[in-house]
């Protein structure tokens, strides 16, 4: 494999990993607060189509991004209302939202299928840094959304482990009864972070339709939301590990595409399967022995103060 190809695959790994990274960071927020959100796939799709539609209307990808964030957040608000407000089963609600999001995005996006985006997030090379051999193009040869995701990772890590709201959020996810007894509003906390998680899933979707593709195709997330959910487990609910994991998945994705482009005897279907097979393998390895290290103690459980 020559040098140019290696650089291009690594660069593509970052690009392909970014939507997964956004979604995974969002899922970390929700799950750290104790809410399992299996609606990520649907939220990404709704985010992608909303972002695209707004961009087509206004011509501004930034307004499109805003639309995607709002759309993802609204989807998550439904999840929060069902699971936190009404204490519905989180798995069922999440699955329902994924189905809903798939259908809704397909419907909304019908008129714009295959329409090229009037304006997209373009590559903006960081001055000086982009000239570093290898690292330059791989890390600093991207668009603004990628740079935002870079900043988001350490920011989120700091928030989780070094701030009071982060501590309170983790307490709510670990032991809501303890958090409640110390005067933390469990319901409110879960609402906030579930919605914040949806906002980030929306950002992941917007990245697909406004930077990665950049166009709208029905079901264009192609399971990336699910990969993000799996990635969170693999990452042990830690944003820093999620960053590495996202690019690993992105790399597998990119590799498959490159091999297809070069031409090989392996059927292209099999190459397209790579990220999903990789997901299963990663889950098998990271959860072997039935242990989910680092899983929030109250993940997936509704909290009811007076009912035991």
């Amino acid at each position: 494999m020559d040098w140019v190809l290696a650089v291009s695959i690594c660069q593509a790994a970052v690009t392909a990993g970014t939507p997964i990274l956004f979604a995974a960071l969002g899922e970390i927020l929700a799950e750290r607060a104790g809410v399992l959100n299996l609606g990520v796939e649907g939220m990404m799709l709704v985010g992608a189509v909303s972002g695209f539609l707004v961009t087509v209307r206004t011509g501004s990808p930034w307004l499109g991004l805003l639309g995607a964030l709002v759309a993802g957040g609204l989807m998550a608000l439904i999840h929060a209302a069902l699971c936190v407000g009404l204490r519905a089963n989180q798995v069922v609600s999440g699955l329902a939202l994924t189905l809903f999001g798939t259908g809704l995005s397909g419907y909304l996006g019908k008129p714009v299928i295959g329409v090229p985006a009037p304006s997209t997030f373009r590559t903006v090379e960081v001055p000086v840094l982009a000239d570093i051999p290898f690292l330059g193009p791989v890390v600093f040869g991207h668009d603004y959304l990628v740079y935002i995701s870079y900043l988001l990772v350490p920011a989120l890590w700091f928030f989780l482990y070094r701030t009071r709201p982060g501590l309170h959020m983790r307490a709510v996810g670990e032991n809501p009864a303890a958090a409640d007894a110390m005067g933390i509003n469990v319901g409110w906390t879960r609402y906030i972070y579930t919605v914040a998680g949806g906002v980030l899933a929306g950002a992941g979707g917007a990245y697909l339709s406004l930077a990665y593709a950049p166009t709208w195709l029905e079901n264009m997330t192609a399971g990336r939301g699910w990969i993000a959910v799996a990635l969170v487990i693999f990452a042990g609910w830690n944003p820093l590990v999620a960053l590495a994991g996202s690019y690993l998945f992105g790399g597998v994705d990119a590799l498959g595409l490159r091999i297809q482009a070069v031409g090989t005897v392996v059927p292209s279907f099999f190459l397209s399967m790579l990220p999903y097979i990789f997901t299963i393998l990663v889950l098998l390895v990271s959860t072997r022995g039935g242990r989910r290290l680092g899983a929030p103690g109250a993940l997936g459980l509704a909290y009811d103060r007076e009912g035991h």
Partner: protein, 513 residues
Amino acid sequence: MAGDILVEMRGISKRFPGVLANDRVSLSVRAGEVHALLGENGAGKTTLMSILSGLYRPDGGEILVEGRPVVFRSPRDAIRAGIGMVHQHFRLVEPFTVAENVTLGLDRPRFALHLAAVEQEVARLGDRHGLKVDPRAQIWQLSVGEQQRVEILKMLYRGARVLIMDEPTAVLTPQEARDLFTVLRQMAAAGRAVVFISHKLQEVMEVADRITVLRAGRNVATLEKAATSARELARLMVGREVSVSYQRTRQAGQEVLLCLEGVEAMGDRGFLALRGLSLRVHAGEIVGVAGVSGNGQRELAEVISGLRPTLRGSIRVGDTEVTGCHPARLIACGLSLVPEDRLGTGLVPTLTVCDNAILKCYRHPPVSRGPFLRRGEIRRRTRVLVEEFAVKVPGLDAPVRKLSGGNLQRLLLAREISARPRVMVAVHPTRGLDVGATAGVHRLLLEQRDEGAAILLISEDLDEILALSDRVVVLYEGRIVGEMPAAQASREEIGLMMAGIELPKDAGGGGQA
């Protein structure tokens, strides 16, 4: 010591679906006193204190703090008014450090955490009040006694003037309990008030200045300790005279029915929970396993009943080697388990009384024929069991989750005993039961012993172990560290062994591997 009244509760009522937990209860707590709240399980003590600490909202009545009426919407309000509660089941976040748990829920510092400052303050408070604990340790690494100190420190850090302790000694060794009493007395002497929830007469007489007795959700009396006696309190609490002594009618047999040798098993955390444990129980004998919870009790019950794999060592029931056997095979060998978690492991909450009653024998005729169950036979059997064991049920087809704790345990025992077990493992068989139900369960266990069954009684209640057992063994960190006939056992000695302190002279030879 009779200071100003800090807190007054007047005519507090609280209704839960189907129960009136508090019926116009009143309580006044003075600065500088340890005030015991005494009552049986279900008397409404914890509910009353959950109201005072802002966790529940009362349906009626009022609360005054230093003469001013207050309304608590959440525990935060109560803490702000200087009232803090240490729950029986600790409200601690296990993967967090002590300092993180202490600072949890506070407003300041608002954003960035300055844990170093919290750690210093926790260490200082710990030194001053005799509550030593490493502020940087994570909760799961601490012993139960240390975790309790963290709970108290949490409240002191917030400047609590009224400290509510909900059955604080249930999880402690007698020595740890004594240390706790010293701490509580010091706090009272410094002008704080302590409300001490308990159903144990001895400790109430030991630590309290005043005692308020509740029964069935109502006030019975408030007394000065100096002006009352344990006997009077018992009568007030139960509403009748109780005697707690059991007759031993028969000597234990010679035949070993349950034998464990060098058993090792993993706990849920992935550490070795049983470390070479050896134990024998003879026919017609009750062996009580004393120990502070978390020293391998649950794992012990689970390896014997086939619910947890045995890493090393052997287990025999009678002459049959049963190490690693499937529970079905163990049941066939005559093993019976009365588990700790009666509604999770022991019974299936959503199934009916009938279905639960046949869970052990549904595979065999006459309850089943081939793959089919015979409902008529099942009903007939269940009706007999329910009558014989005086289980109060709304109906044979009612789901068992609707039964009260005492009736659940009676139904469970009815099922287990009707299988005529040779070996019975009973884990905390009377936890959460009131005095009447407890006596019933004790009677059933003693009857089984007299019938010749070998019974392993695992309990946190030392009084229960001493009252029922023929022999007492002490479990500490997955090993039996001491053994003695119950008649010669002293609470002192057992307590020391429970804390892991080796005694110079070993009373019974022990079972150390």
